[in-house]
């Protein structure tokens, strides 16, 4: 089988796309009825329960990367590749207590930006916003481009079509249904994703036993079984800290902390993290079956779908297509919603139009979502490879926010200037080592520099803070 042959017939793929589009958009419309209040639209009424809360945290963190890159990591970096990727759940788990504290400290808060502004002041807030928006755009574009590329690789449908359809659907149902639509569809998508991965995993084991897998690898690709593989060891904590930085700072996770009902946040994030942990291993190990069945893999980023198609035929191809599509949509919608919240609250309301009424903001919110979708579409259209990889550059940026955010939440005396300097110096120095040493150092350096500055300035010059100052009243 040639990788140039799409594994799924384009008409079938088109039909699947159409069917799911109709489903998600219908649900978006249905759940969006009567959501005119800002708190309903942006934060689903601040009452989301445990089931939906856990599912949305999981679904959003399972991106197409998890389903496609996990097998690639397993194929290239072996066992540590999979286990290392699984450690991406640590960010979710550590965010559990933070989510509870966020809701307790700021029951009327809207965004991560609100917290940084009230906690550290205007300049730290602006630096934080730059980091947040660069990261958000990077993630949005990488998701949209991945959508186009994957749909094309799986079915032969043109890049522009796949990319536009996925982005368009997500914009429409997020527009119609707000955070409720995002969270509701996330639940369904989570069940689809995990069921698909588990099915493929068990089928792979039944066709290709562990004995054969181990024996073939030991003979042909021994380093994949090596616990002391240097490349994997080097990446391990860089990736973990990158993930922590992503989760700790991004409004995607903060908006959920505000949206979950009282007492739900801690449990939802903890469960989501625990359930997410096995997914890279379950999705990734199937790649190790390729050498056993003699499947040639010309491009390692296609190893997952190729295995599925090889072992399960058209059913496998459909499975992969549906799983990847669900993973993409469940992350895209969350990102669209949370980023437009950030723009609406921290740029529009706080910088441009502080006196805006709730109804006005509700309408402006819709405009921002459409604008954001349009911008993402325009940037993704030319399919410039380096743009899709911008997310990789943000490692030092996001990791530099870890200590400012966490120490800001838990220490009363954190020095605001230290937090500001930590974010700036961490981001910049991280970028420098990214260029000079390698990508696997960026997040690590960003985190270390920021930690040292935050802790150092706080020890040298602690600043008192009243937690009550985080409670800001908005006029209705």
């Amino acid at each position: 089988m040639n990788v140039n042959d799409a594994i799924l017939d384009p008409y079938l793929a088109g039909a699947l796309l159409a069917a799911f589009s109709v489903l998600w958009i219908f649900l978006g419309w249905w759940w969006g009825r009567g959501q005119d209040a800002l708190d309903d639209f942006m934060l689903a009424g601040r009452r989301v329960g445990l089931a939906l809360g856990t599912a949305t945290a999981m679904a959003t963190w399972v991106t197409a990367s998890t389903t496609m890159v996990a097998p690639q990591f397993a194929y290239e970096l072996g066992v540590w590749g999979m286990i290392g990727y699984s450690l991406g759940s640590v960010g979710l788990i550590l965010f559990a207590p933070m989510a509870a504290r966020i809701r307790r400290l700021m029951p009327a808060g809207y965004t991560s930006g609100d917290f940084i502004r009230l906690r550290y002041g205007v300049w730290a807030w602006r630096v934080f916003l730059v980091i947040s928006l660069v990261y958000s755009m990077g993630w949005l574009v990488s998701l949209a481009m991945a959508g186009g590329v994957l749909i094309h690789a799986l079915s032969g449908l043109p890049y522009h079509l796949g990319m536009s359809v996925i982005l368009g659907i997500c914009v429409i149902y997020t527009l119609l249904g707000g955070l409720r639509a995002v969270i509701g569809t996330d639940f369904i998508q989570t069940v689809i994703i995990i069921t698909g991965i588990v099915l493929l995993g068990f089928l792979t084991i039944s066709r290709v036993g562990f004995e054969d897998m181990h024996a073939t690898l030991a003979q042909e690709r021994p380093e994949l079984l090596n616990l002391l593989m240097p490349a994997s060891l080097m990446f391990l904590f860089n990736n973990l800290l990158f993930g922590m930085g992503e989760i700790f700072h991004s409004n995607v996770w903060w908006s959920r902390a505000f949206a979950f009902g009282e007492g739900v946040g801690f449990k939802a994030y903890l469960l989501a993290g625990l359930f997410w942990t096995p997914i890279p291993i379950a999705a990734g190990f199937v790649a190790l079956a390729a050498p056993v069945i003699g499947l040639n893999v010309p491009r390692s980023d296609m190893v997952g779908p190729m295995i599925a198609a090889n072992l399960l035929g058209t059913a496998g191809a459909v499975l992969v297509f549906v799983v990847v599509f669900s993973a993409l949509a469940s992350s895209l919608d969350s990102l669209l919603a949370a980023t437009s919240d950030l723009i609406l609250e921290d740029i529009y309301r706080k910088h441009l139009n502080p006196g805006a009424s709730q109804q006005h903001l509700r309408r402006a919110g819709s405009v921002v979502i459409v604008g954001l979708g349009l911008l993402t579409w325009l940037v993704s259209l030319p399919n410039i490879d380096t743009l899709g990889k911008i997310l990789h550059f943000t490692g030092s940026f996001v990791a530099s926010t870890i200590w400012p955010v966490a120490a800001g939440l838990y220490w009363r005396k954190t020095n605001p200037t230290g937090a500001l300097l930590g974010m700036v110096a961490g981001s910049v120095l991280g970028l420098v080592v990214y260029e000079m040493i390698g990508w696997y150092t960026a997040a690590l350096v960003g985190a270390v520099v920021s930690m040292v500055l935050t802790v150092g300035t706080t020890l040298a010059a602690p600043r008192d803070f009243d937690w009550q100052d985080l409670q800001e009243e908005h006029k209705a």
Binding site: N2, V3, Y75, E76, L77, G78, V90, L94, P97, M98, R101, L217, E220, R221, P222, E223, L224, L225, L228, M229, P230, A231, L233, M234, L236, F237, N238, L240, L241, M244, N296, V297, P298, R299, S300, V303, I402, W403, A406, A407, L409, Y410, W411, Y440, T441, L444, A447, V448, M451
Partner: protein, 155 residues
């Protein structure tokens, strides 16, 4: 006579060239590759004008394939694809060559030999990164969990 001889030789020399539309496949990239993670991809293509339908890729530990024992040469791939991904290799240099096969069963000559040098990062360096990262992570986790416990004991 001279003209005849020149023409004769000219034709005689070009004939084999014309018949040699079964020339060897060509590699898509460099002939010398490096890998620090033990994984790399190899890509090749049939020579332009040749009607090759499949490829046969071979690996050996020394560049001298012809001299090497049968046992020391390993078949890596036999099929229609124009590329493959190798992974999990330990330190060392690995040599590759590929030839094409046509419908009638005949083969093209071997391609040029390609060499890949695998040199994993030094283990001490890898551990240095590992330990630094672990310390930063632990410090952060301790700080958060400490704060969490303080909060719980208050309420």
């Amino acid at each position: 006579m001279r003209i005849f001889a020149t023409t004769f030789f000219a034709v005689a020399l070009t004939l084999p060239l014309a018949a040699q539309s079964d020339s060897a496949p060509v590699w898509a990239g460099e002939l010398e590759l490096n890998s620090s993670g033990g994984y790399y991809s190899l890509n090749w293509a049939a020579a332009p004008g040749s009607d090759v339908t499949s490829f046969y890729l071979e690996e050996a530990a020394s560049p001298d394939f012809a001299g090497a024992d049968r046992d020391e040469r390993r078949q890596v791939y036999d099929g229609e694809d124009s590329g493959t991904t190798i992974s999990g290799k330990a330190d060392g240099t690995y040599y590759y060559r590929v030839h094409g096969r046509k419908d009638d069963g005949s083969r093209t000559p071997w391609s040029k030999t390609l060499g890949v040098t695998v040199r994993h990062h030094s283990l001490p360096r890898a551990f240095a990164f590992l330990i630094t990262g672990a310390l930063v992570f632990l410090a952060t986790a301790v700080m958060i969990l400490g704060g969490y416990r303080r909060e719980r004991s208050k309420s």
